[in-house]
Symmetry: C2
Subunit: 311 residues, 2 copies
């Protein structure tokens, strides 16, 4: 006998779709993943896509609250949910969810968040806010810094469980561009598979290159110059990864000193950031990104005034 | 009646070929340009390619000294000319030219230069050394900094007309990658052609964003975040250009204060760097890149011990 379902949570990005049937305590009863990301939905018929993925749940429990997060709330998505400005906690996000009407179901979208970056510029997120709320619901510190590595790495400052600052780095996107289409690409292809100890040393070397936080465009050429002058690392992609992550962490370093750091990520990338932080003498707590997303959807759904998700 | 030819100078890169028939005073008598760059030479038969481009000169004056610079001396080129290490002036480069034998003609290649960067790393150039020697031959200061904007921007310190330090930035390559294949590409395409005053303001704004020299990966995302939050410049490509050039100049800024700056570049890119330097209160001298290359080939050829190029 399964537990009673209390809601459906959906993380819908540009390339992937994930959904969970959950009980009132955020425990998954069933789950679905598909590659029908937003950009792949025929005729932008998002209701049909949702029904394709979750039809068996929807047929049986058509009145369940459905909470969606991620790019589904962007201009490219189902309906644009304006960024929530200012401090954002679970209650603020719940109150700002966008109801999708007309719809055969009771669907809401979590808005993205707009906040100020460490350097005073405006910064944004969409989807990550839900993971952060989830991490706090799972017991992560309510005050400190959250690091969310990825295509666009985000460092988020929390105070009393609310998002008060966002700083995004193009780290993962730069890595992919430079690995695949730059003056470094030929080197990387020529090196092929590298031994893990060679890779680890090259990553460490890259971290040290990045640790003063400056002159990234010069250091990128430096990787090439090393190979041309016979002092290459033999693992250019690892060195590049280290340089980009090291440069990112260097920027935040003055902020890191006295704060608790929580890493929300999948395992592979989480290890790289853990290594980079350890090189600075910092130990981070880790939270799995998928679990955080599910926990966040549940925590926000429980605070939506129009819903009664809590047990 | 034309002047007597004293040499042939060739600038042979991966995508283009240029050659000049010159008199002993570096004045061009005739010139040739073609798109037969090194990577496009069939069966890597460089003699045949040289003959296709310059056959009419070679038939008439088969014994003329031929001096080539650029990637023709790299591993991808005609013959690898090892980097000249240490201070490099016209005489050093002339003494280190690599004679191509066997050859139907009297051909030498100018070596590239390896030197130390401002941050202590090893850096390299191949082709630019000839332009620098040429700029000095044309009257540019023998002591100071030379800025050579481009795909790989170079800042070169000169002492008594010799290259003593090289710092390369991936600026132009990053610009092309980010304009064409990044999160900024959609914005740039949607903006289309922008008015020149809008472009100029966006470029200035980018320069200011870059002027502290740090956190490039964050500032790149910032350009995107501005557009998403309604404070975009309307000219994303110009802002990106300003950010990258501003970041480059910020790195060198402590070095710039008391030095004469010479810009060696084509006109379009030279204007951008001139604007960027002016924002720092620095006026640069300009030297045309093509003229500098020709003058450099002549100046180096005149010091090749085996040749008698001087009048």
């Amino acid at each position: 006998m399964t537990k009673a379902p209390a809601m459906i949570g959906v993380d819908w990005g540009t390339s992937n779709f994930r959904a969970w049937l959950m009980d009132a305590a955020a425990q998954p009863i069933d789950s679905v993943t598909s590659h029908e990301g937003l950009l792949k939905v025929p005729r932008r018929d998002f209701s049909a896509a949702l029904n394709r993925a979750c039809g068996s749940w929807l047929d049986r429990w058509p009145a369940l609250p459905i909470l969606m997060c991620g790019m589904v709330g962007s201009r490219q998505g189902c309906r644009e949910a304006a960024y929530l400005k200012g401090d954002a906690g679970a209650g603020d996000l719940a109150g700002a969810t966008l109801a999708i009407t007309p719809s055969p179901w009771d669907v809401r979208i979590v808005p993205g968040v707009q906040s100020v970056s460490y350097d005073g510029s405006q910064d944004v997120m969409r989807g990550e806010e839900t993971q952060i709320i989830g991490a706090v619901a799972m017991g992560a510190p309510k005050d400190g810094l959250v690091c969310m590595p990825g295509t666009h790495s985000k460092w988020v400052e929390l105070r009393d469980g609310r998002i008060i600052s966002i700083t995004t780095f193009l780290t993962g996107e730069l890595f992919a561009l430079l690995r695949g289409n730059s003056i470094l690409t030929g080197l990387i292809e020529a090196e092929g598979e590298v031994a893990s100890d060679v890779g680890a040393r090259a990553f460490q070397l890259g971290l040290r290159m990045g640790q003063d936080g400056g002159a990234l465009a010069h250091k990128l050429f430096s990787i090439r110059a090393r190979a041309l002058t016979g002092t290459g690392s033999g693992a250019t992609a690892e060195m590049l990864s280290g340089l980009l992550i090291g440069s990112e962490i260097a920027t935040l370093h003055p902020e890191l000193a006295d704060k608790e750091i929580v890493l929300i990520a999948s395992e592979g990338i989480s290890d790289r950031y853990r290594t980079a932080l350890q090189q600075r003498g910092i130990e981070a707590l880790s939270v799995n990104g998928d679990e955080a997303c599910r926990a966040g959807l549940s925590a926000i759904a429980r605070e939506v005034p129009e819903w009664k998700v809590a047990a």
